[in-house]
Symmetry: C2
Subunit: 413 residues, 2 copies
């Protein structure tokens, strides 16, 4: 009888693992609570009305349409029973011989979960649509308000967290508020809008080299973003954000400050780091459980220097393949290779024709970094159709500055 | 002082009127509760995962970006005060010298409003996304069910109403359930799915000639749709639909059977027809109110033969222009032209490379009608960007049969 592999999560890691196991003798079940794989690096473009959800998402089923050994299961995994090798689902359970956990992270409010309703994070399509509607609705509300003080609250956008997501959001929102969409309104001017990026550390993009951080900061400032460094948020409520003694009145706060791994990992009864990620063995397995692997953002893989790998797509993809290869080799080989990360570099975009990139020892900024960023993101987008669509969208956007997906669809409030 | 024109609704009629009044001396306010103009004839393609919402919708503001005399007001109009020439909004009010009401219709359940929650209609992007999620979620649920009887309920799709919307939906759903998306599932076959179109009259597409109705019917049947004529729905609940003595068990009912004009029209205190539409004067004005016009689906314009004009885009557009021209000419001319509808024909599509069209005396069916349909719909789509995107999507869809927007985004239930 063929052995059963269960993969939880169909992000970059889970999808890479499933592809590696496609058309083998293993019976693979890919469990996800969403029906789509999401190209998360471009999610901020959905949140800022540049791309449609369908441009950056593919139905998981369609990816494995022709791989008959892969079953897609639209369910939520709740916990792992390591004794009896079972995944407990919201209804039912799944047996496994091998398990790959690739559940990613959610944003974390460092114990202040009550902030979430005023300051949404950006991890899912739902999140992105919520933020898009928040931004566009705020402009609409501001258009109807004549009291300039009151209007300002709707025209102030605060992004908390100066990592890649925060930086990309701040840049894209500044383009909307200072240059593009703003032109369609009659009742306020670009100078009435404010975009503020708050970072707790001494510089933004702290995983990059210092001169790239500096370059990104001045690019943001040229777009009209106020970058506040060394600032800790102490309160977020419906009227605004508190930083130290200063209170910024705003209806628009977006949270891009912290991540936290899934609760599910606790059921493994193994060592977690402070972000709740599983500290994995050198082969990506978990504690004594040779048949259970944790990969991607859910894993804390410590290098020999004691540093953990960053939560980015290339790490997840390489780990997904590595775990799947160990499983594929399991009946012929007893020795397991250690996982070694091959650094492909990292990049973040700041606005039209502006980006920073670090590829091995090479540092890029400005237009050339932005072209590299565009190329890499289009090439790695899953599905020819999406690649083609996004490329067309970007070219169109570049030429016309139009934001095609400025729709308020769901009246959530 | 320049005169104030208020237009309520930015569908085809309202938009045409506003465009006619752009860059004139009138101060125009376009009121809509949505921020986008919707190309409604293609809405069924959003509901069936072929197009993205942004492909068929444009932000109203962006249409009038450069026309400084047109203000866009994102509000809901509640009633009209004909004595003091005011539109009452959900908050606040608007004075007018001239008023154009273009509020369209919602679907009507003929007094059975409790059916709505089981059988959504298709008028807005929200509706379309709800139906899309219903269809895809049903396939997902069926995949997880092993009991064949229970599974069947999720694989049965009932469309009530055999007008253009019902026919187009039935054809598109049959393609999903019999040919395209179905291939990605492991647990059921095309033959396990059922698509049923229920029509109360003796033929579908009753506004077309009899042979085109017949042709559309046999096209649908070739796609695997069961067409039930002369059947009245007597009950819809969570378990299915009742027709006469027959009960069809299904989790998927879509309502495309009737329309009803907006409640707002009642505040005009004038004569309404049985669908709640205002019976307008020959110049589209209302009763004694020379300065108030009702156009498009909200109006019942009686021809000399006593028949009313159909609720289609060309009627709304021509009426919008007509009302706006009367307003433009109001200070130079006291005589008003009667509205005369120039029939541009009508068309409906049934599936890939199948359609029916009636253009003046010319009747088309099959591939040639479908090509005509595609051309007309792409040409009339508002905005070059959308035209281009939709064309690309259709070509892609035609070649690959893929449904690119199969996303379950909002967990509404």
């Amino acid at each position: 009888m063929s052995k059963k592999v269960v993969i939880i999560g169909s992000g970059f890691g889970g999808l890479a693992a499933a592809k590696e196991l496609a058309d083998t003798e293993f019976e693979v079940t890919l469990v996800d609570r969403n029906n789509h794989h999401l190209f998360q690096p471009l999610l901020y473009q959905v949140a800022t009305a540049a791309l449609s959800p369908a441009d950056i998402a593919v139905p998981i089923r369609s990816v494995f349409s022709s791989n008959k050994n892969i079953n897609v299961f639209l369910r939520e995994a709740v916990s792992i029973d390591t004794q009896s090798n079972k995944v407990v689902l919201s209804d039912g359970e799944l047996d496994f011989d091998f398990l790959i956990i690739a559940t990613g992270t959610r944003h974390s409010y460092f114990g202040n979960n009550e902030w979430e309703k005023f300051a949404p994070g950006l991890k899912t399509l739902d999140d992105a649509l919520e933020i898009r509607e928040k931004i566009i609705s705020s402009l609409e509300k501001a258009e109807l308000i004549s009291d300039k003080e009151k209007q300002k609250e709707y025209l102030t956008f605060v992004i908390v967290g100066g990592g890649p997501t925060g930086v990309e959001l701040a840049g894209a929102i500044a383009e909307i508020a200072k240059k593009t969409i703003i032109k369609d309104y009659r009742n306020f001017l670009p100078s009435d809008t404010k975009v503020i990026l708050i970072e707790a550390a001494g510089r933004i993009l702290s995983s990059y080299s210092e001169d790239l951080s500096e370059s990104a900061k001045s690019d943001l400032e040229n777009l009209g973003v106020k970058v506040m460094l060394n600032q800790q948020v102490t309160l977020i409520d419906e009227s605004g954000v508190k930083i130290g003694n200063q209170f910024i009145k705003t209806k628009n706060v977006i949270w891009a400050a912290g991540n936290e791994a899934s609760e599910l990992l606790r059921s493994l009864n193994t060592k977690l780091d402070k972000a709740g990620r599983v500290i994995v063995n050198k082969d990506l397995s978990v504690g004594e459980n040779e048949n259970i692997f944790v990969i991607g953002d859910a894993a804390c893989f410590l290098n020999n220097d004691g540093k953990s790998l960053p939560g980015i797509a290339p790490v997840a993809i390489q780990q997904g393949r590595h775990a799947a290869q160990i499983i594929k080799n399991s009946h012929t080989s007893n020795t397991r290779k250690e996982f070694i990360y091959r650094d492909k570099g990292s990049m973040a975009t700041i606005g039209k024709a502006k980006a920073v990139a670090e590829i091995r020892k090479i540092k890029l900024k400005g237009l050339i970094a932005w072209l590299a960023w565009s190329l890499v993101h289009v090439v790695f987008l899953i599905g020819y159709r999406n690649r083609f669509r996004v490329m067309i969208e970007w070219i169109w956007h570049y030429i016309t500055n139009s934001h095609g997906t400025r729709l308020i669809v769901n009246k959530r409030n």
